[in-house]
């Protein structure tokens, strides 16, 4: 019962915050709302006893990505931003189809049946902490994707530099 109430609150908050994020005229506000949103999501993760995920949600997202966003936001002219229309002309269409998607998705997930139960029961994870389990897996079964991810990050770095560095007269 309690948990459901909690969920209700978080779900409500998350939805509300997401809406706020995408409806604020001022990007800075959006970013800040998003920060709040991420905190909520993180705490939702805690309910699903994914502590590590919650942690990186805060660290990577809130600490990394959002800051990055903020930097870029500061590049742009907020005043003009506030003056002009925030939505594109065709936003009703977009809205329609977004809602449409929501409807069809919800309708189709009604026939959702959960998959098989795995071996990582709550207390097993409790026994050796979530992070440990995760770490083990990452370095054994999921070693390959882990490496690939590292490549991706490398590419991100290289790419970002290539694109963003000052122009060289060649």
């Amino acid at each position: 019962m309690i948990s459901q109430l909690f969920f209700a609150y978080f779900a409500f908050a998350i939805v509300l915050l997401s809406v706020l994020v995408i409806t604020r005229k001022n990007p800075v506000h959006s970013v800040l709302w998003m920060l709040l949103l991420f905190f909520h999501i993180a705490s939702l993760y805690l309910f699903l006893n994914a502590e590590f995920m919650a942690a990186i949600q805060i660290i990577v997202y809130a600490g990394g990505i959002l800051v990055l966003f903020l930097f870029v936001v500061l590049l742009m002219n907020i005043r003009e931003e506030l003056r002009i229309n925030k939505f594109i002309g065709a936003w009703p269409t977009g809205f329609t189809f977004a809602v449409g998607l929501l409807v069809v998705i919800t309708m189709s997930v009604r026939s959702f049946v959960a998959g098989p139960q795995g071996k990582y029961t709550v207390d097993l994870i409790k026994k050796e902490s979530n992070i440990k389990v995760l770490g083990k897996l990452l370095y054994t079964d999921f070693l390959f994707p882990f490496e690939v991810a590292s490549l991706i990050l490398l590419v991100a770095i290289v790419g970002a530099i290539v694109l963003a560095k000052k122009r060289v007269k060649s």
């Binding site: 948990s3 998350i14 995920m53 990505i65 966003f69 959960a114 694109l163």
Partner: protein
């Protein structure tokens, strides 16, 4: 005990909010954020699944998603900056050199 479907529903809603944001906001940063929203929606569902199925894959995938999201953000913002150098606008709908 919260039924799994609630989580699915939540993720669906957030996802579509993200979609809507992406479809209708002019500001490029906000479009990025919308994408992040969508990814977070996915993460929510993933993690909830991994919880309910008592399986770690979900979390691991979510973990990778976050990693990728970060890289995407980096690349995306780099692109924006590169663009800024040529055309100082934050509005995607100002950018339509090529069409037809």
């Amino acid at each position: 005990m919260v039924p799994l479907n609630w989580y699915i529903l939540l993720s669906a809603v957030v996802f579509t909010i993200g979609v809507f944001g992406f479809l209708s906001r002019r500001n490029i940063i906000i479009m990025f954020m919308s994408i992040e929203l969508m990814l977070n929606a996915v993460n929510i569902s993933l993690i909830s699944f991994s919880h309910y199925l008592q399986d770690m894959r979900g979390q691991i995938l979510a973990f990778f998603v976050i990693a990728v999201a970060a890289s995407e953000a980096a690349i995306g913002l780099a692109i924006v900056i590169a663009l800024f150098r040529n055309k100082a606008t934050a509005h995607v709908d100002d950018i339509h050199e090529m069409h037809g």
